[in-house]
């Protein structure tokens, strides 16, 4: 598409657009009468899966976590794997909206809105698991520090308590950031919608936005501040999540490389997920003008870069297992590679280390279909990575007499697949009722209007 990329950066919005066309195009998806039939089909499928999850959760609550495959020694299973996976996925949204904003990467504009939404929904999915995986979920609020008649605080040395803070902060900031970003667009929708109900609802959401200079000024300040707040979270959340493992003494968990390696992995999987979602959406809603090949290429480069960091992490794990001279460490690695879960391990290497190497090639980066396939593979690979870390470390640790095996049950899978359903259901609703691309920010990208791309 971009014929001479070496001379000038390809545009982040295709030529020929004006303020009006941008606003029309994006807002019509929401306000237009015509909802594509594919939306209904997709939503129906997602919602069914969502209901499967609700059923499985109800069953788990009624009968107990014993309906899952967890046991002694493998006390954590799908719930923790899925939790880490979903939290990781969320990271791309925050990275795109906050860090790229601060770095003035204006190409982020067309993908940040739904990346943020994705973050929010991913955090919502992730949040289900730590609650549900406890033996007595109705008492999980004991992890919160609140004054109580028991005179008990949480036990602050436990990484799970740190997790509570990290994830709840992350969820809150992501929600605020996303909502604040929406305000001017909600006002646009309020103004453009023809129906009373929509006007009222969008009007409430717009919080009286009138687009005055002082509004814009305060808005920009708040948005920048929130971006500043969210930026450290990109690094901190997955660092804390990795502490759940790194602080323990289990071989395969007790590793100092975990924090950076988890953060890189999170961004890796997050961008893969953004790509997985962006590619069909731009096709279905005809948004190729806004989400251009440049976006996809940039994301592919980030996937390649973070993929390399993750690969380095695997290499270091292997190296340290050997270099430490620790019997437990070297056995753990040997067991991962050749033990009963060897297929999982090698599948993860293929998915996470081998697959992204194709992104070195420009032809691959320019092929939408290939990118889509690679992004799917990376998502699977990152799930496998968490499976390998959680399960293979626990199932054979120190005393051979306590070794065991783990496999997810029907209910494990039902809840996992169900969260995918919930995630997609929320996304479908989001693209239907809210502008999935930031209208006002896109307007700033129109060539000749505001060259510097600032706010």
């Amino acid at each position: 598409m971009a014929s001479r990329p070496e001379l000038e950066k390809p545009p982040v919005i295709e030529p020929g657009h004006t303020y009006a066309t941008v606003t029309d195009k994006i807002s019509s998806i929401v306000l237009g009468r015509h909802t594509p039939i594919s939306w209904f089909i997709g939503f129906a499928i997602s919602f069914t899966l969502f209901m499967v999850m609700m059923y499985a959760i109800t069953y788990t609550l009624v009968v107990g976590t014993g309906v899952w495959g967890i046991n002694i020694p493998v006390g954590w299973g799908f719930a923790i794997i899925n939790f880490v996976w979903w939290i990781g996925i969320g990271h791309a949204g925050t990275l795109i909206s906050a860090i790229l904003l601060l770095l003035r990467q204006d190409w982020r504009t067309s993908i940040n809105r739904f990346a943020e939404a994705m973050t929010l929904f991913a955090v919502a999915c992730a949040g289900i698991f730590p609650l549900l995986h406890t033996g007595r979920p109705w008492l999980a609020y004991w992890l919160l520090p609140y004054p109580n008649t028991m005179g008990m605080w949480p036990q602050f040395r436990s990484p799970l308590v740190w997790d509570v803070f990290a994830v709840s902060t992350y969820g809150t900031v992501s929600l605020l950031f996303w909502y604040v970003g929406l305000i001017p667009d909600l006002a646009t929708l309020r103004d453009r919608s023809k129906r009373k109900a929509a006007q009222i609802i969008y009007g409430i959401g717009a919080m009286g936005w009138r687009g005055s200079a002082i509004h814009w000024h305060r808005y920009e300040t708040a948005y920048l501040l929130l971006a500043g707040l969210a930026t450290p979270l990109v690094v901190s959340v997955h660092t804390v999540v990795s502490f759940d493992f790194a602080v323990s003494l289990i071989p395969g968990w007790h590793t100092t490389i975990f924090p950076p390696y988890f953060v890189a992995g999170a961004i890796y999987s997050g961008f893969a997920m953004v790509m997985t979602l962006a590619i069909p959406i731009r096709k279905i809603y005809g948004l190729e003008d806004f989400i251009t090949m440049r976006h996809l290429r940039n994301m592919a480069k980030i996937i390649l870069a973070t993929g390399l960091i993750v690969a380095y992490g695997y290499t270091m794990e292997t190296f340290m297992a050997w270099y430490s001279g620790s019997l437990f460490e070297s056995f753990m690695l040997e067991n991962r590679m050749t033990g009963p879960y060897w297929m999982m391990y090698w599948a993860l290497i293929v998915c996470n280390v081998i697959t992204p190497q194709f992104l070195w090639f420009r032809r691959v980066r320019n092929s939408v279909v290939t990118l889509f396939v690679i992004s799917l593979i990376v998502n699977v690979g990152m799930w496998l990575e968490r499976y390998v870390i959680v399960v293979t470390s626990l199932h054979r640790d120190f005393l051979p007499s306590s070794w065991g095996m783990y496999a997810g049950t029907f209910w494990d899978w039902a809840i996992y697949v169900g969260t995918l359903g919930m995630f997609l259901s929320l996304l479908f609703l989001f693209v239907r009722v809210l502008p999935m691309i930031s209208i006002f920010e896109m307007r700033t990208l129109i060539p000749g209007e505001k060259k510097d791309g600032g706010h």
């Binding site: 069953y59 009968v63 107990g64 976590t65 014993g66 309906v67 495959g69 967890i70 046991n71 002694i72 020694p73 493998v74 006390g75 954590w76 995986h133 406890t134 033996g135 007595r136 979920p137 008492l139 999980a140 004991w142 992890l143 008990m152 605080w153 949480p154 036990q155 040395r157 436990s158 990484p159 799970l160 308590v161 509570v164 759940d244 602080v247 323990s248 003494l249 289990i250 019997l327 437990f328 056995f331 626990l394 640790d397 120190f398 005393l399 051979p400 007499s401 306590s402 070794w403 065991g404 095996m405």
Partner: protein, 998 residues
Amino acid sequence: MSSLRDARKPKGPDAPPAKDLRGARYWRSLEEWADTPEFRRFVEREFPENASQWADPVGRRRFLKLMGASLAMAGVGACTVQPPERIIPYVKQPEEIVPGKPLYYATAMPQWGIGQGLLVESHMGRPTKIEGNPDHPASLGASNHFSQASILGLYDPDRSDVIRRAGRIDTWDNFLAELASALEVEAGRGGRGLRLLTGTITSPSLAAQIEELLTLYPGSKHHQWEPLNRDNVLEGAKLVFGRPVETRYRFDRAKVIVSLDSDFLAWGPASVRHARDFAGARRSEDGEMSRLYVVEPTPSLTGGVADHRLALESHRVEAVARRLAANLGIEGGAASVESAEQWIAGAVADLQRHRGDSLVVAGDGQPPIVHALAHAINHRLGNVGSTVEYTRPLGARPVNQTESLGSLVDDMRSGGVDLLVILDGNPVYDAPVDFDFAAALQSVKLRIHLSQSEDETSQGCHWHIPGAHFLESWGDVRAFDGTVSIIQPLIRPLYGGRSSHELLGALLGRPGLTAEQAVRDHWAAQMGPDSEKQWRKSVHDGVVAGTAFPPLTPQLDEAALRAEAGSTTSPSGMEVLFRGDPCVADGRYANNGWLQELPKPLTKLTWDNAALISPAMARELSLENGDVVRLSHGERGVEAPIWVLPGQAARSVTVHLGSGHRRAGRVAEGVGFDAYPLRESDKLWNAAGIQIEKTGQRRFLACTQNHHLIETGLASQQAHDRHLVRETEIEEYRSNPEVIHEMGHEFPEEMTLYPPHEYPGHAWGMVIDLGACTGCNACVVACQSENNIPVVGKQMVEMGREMHWIRIDRYFEGDLDDPRYVHQPMICQHCENAPCEVVCPVAATSHSAEGLNEMTYNRCVGTRYCSNNCPYKVRRFNFLLYQDWDTPSLKLMRNPDVTVRSRGVMEKCTFCVQRINAARIVARNEDRKIEDGEIVTACEAACPSQAITFGDINDSASRVARLKADKLNYGILNELNTRPRTTYLARLKNSNPELADG
């Protein structure tokens, strides 16, 4: 049900007159019962709510349990836990009963007719826990898993609670009436048609009643049958002594022991005492350590602690015995045993060096000639009087039980038996298959069966009379040395059971006779003028003083051995060994969930038995664990899943009896396979020439350790590399006492981020002596009983969710075909730097001021992080609601001092904190310090070999502190800096240097 109707058919004319009456009463009582408001409420309110639970197996199981229990309890009505006239609040408190304070009563548990002395803990009239009786010779304070689990046997909701005639509920009066008319017929002809079938009888009072019966009906006969009988022992003695004598072994005096397929540490009436004596002789500080040689076809606990173990097929053990005898100068034709020559030479040289303090023991499963040879060798070595003593037989009426049962079957078949009374026992299930007992039984006109549950034999009998548990009725029983214990009841029969004494009373025409009366009357006559005082003392102490059998000095006739010389045959092909199940014995404990879920010591299988084969055979026949094979012998055969057990003799297949019940209760039915259909009367212990065929089916077996790793040896190799079980030769230890410490890595204590704990008062700790531990499982069940640990079922075990707080780790070492195996009890290590404590987000597991790692169940939210971070993996999680909250009888059983845990919380060993606190309260009231030995944990109390020591490590004079200072003491995974409070004493081996490769 149809078989029940069939069972009634041949009986014919005597039924009709009473039938209508009984039928009407039955229905009337059922209606009365069904109309109770409780039941209505139950049906109307409970059922709709619970109906949804049918959808899931867990809920359904609970619902069925609830339903079944309600039915069971409705049946017994008032349940008669307390006599009805006293169901009023205590206006005046009975003496001694203080709410919350348990009382202990001495009693004894009969097993195979022989007694084990017990002290039973009773809370407000409910027996809750079994301990050994320190004054009893077979216990000395210790117990075994069978006696520990008997408390669950007492409260078992599946026990029968009604008298039945041909399956229908009936009354004791109707029973007496029918019995009286049958006895009237017998009285007219001298009792020719009357037969009594019992197990081994050592009870003097019961024996006296039987004598009386036989005198009253001179034509009647008494038969005895135990499936795991000791015929070989008595026949072997007869062979050389000319009469049956009992052999008593003194393992505390023996320096060299040769076991000819004898599992003396785990089986037999004196095993608890043997374990104590043997462990004592193995402790190095007592001068010379004993040395044990074991030759056996299938791994046993005794083989596990042997210095030199030789795996040989059962029929070749005889050749080894002959060879030993020949080398010691006893004539008797010795075949050579290739592959065992070196072992034999080493053993012989050792035996010769230890004349007078050596010992040769033969196993119950070996033929009489092996026993005879053992007697001859002991005589030749001058061991008689020092390590071996002879007494008269324990049984009051010693007979060859196989012949006894055989003659009964012949009589039944020829129609000569009109009235058969079976007291306990389950011969329809466990009689030798060639007797076809069930069919023969059908030709008896009136069949009466007294048993605690309705089993296969009850089904084949006209009358089923619920039996009383030994904790519910009076009785008496002899221990292995003849010492009598009075069995005193702790509770009135929960299910209206009758004792053997009562039933014999009815046979003797004294239907009102109570067991107490029968026993007291007998002993009043025995004890003479001072009987009341003696009786009180005997009941209190749990032993009747002076009743041990005096030693005999029978004359040995070596010539008899020569007569047997030519009988050595060496059958070819494969042999099958019939052994009692390590957990459910001959099947009598099959409905006991604790024992079913107890991992068998060597295979670690639960809820199942299997055909055990050697790795060599598995390779040869390309069999894997779980493959179902058909074991056939002639036209008889059984289908059994395979389990590969290293250490099994190459051509031997071991099957454990006691599983595969067709009718025995909800726990037992459908568990495992029944091996009895392969067991013939002349091949009770092993049968040569069996065929193994693969069926192509597979059966899923629930194993608690290293399910698929035995064949590869990976787990054992890793265990070895990690120095988990440390052992060394005694000689090496003597030359370098630091050898055990040098095996592992120590960690500098100050290397921790958090400040160290201070223990100004007590600091509780434990030491487990691996040299003494045999892996017998007594501690596991004792812990389960003390701490209200639930049973989870086969599927949960297979998923890795068993709840036992004590896991006995078992590792194989060395060659797969001829390994050594070691046991290591693994409990919460109560680490100083406990990894579980720092990761719990809600501080539900915390460090006490006395160094206990405490679990606060109420606070636990169930993240399971503590378990993940526990390097010993000793924490157990209630993944589902495992505890039975509904069955009333099981509520009575629980220890009121220990929280009953619910779903979703973590639990683990507490060092029996309830016992620590009980001792603390007593000491504080008396204003003194807790003394060493005052707190005994449940596992420590049960341990037959005294391998477990608990105490205050701050008190340098305590036993535990002294053991911790021992050079053999080491902690597991010290390199992690967890600093465990539970440490281990390394195992010392005493190999014969002449047998260099062990």
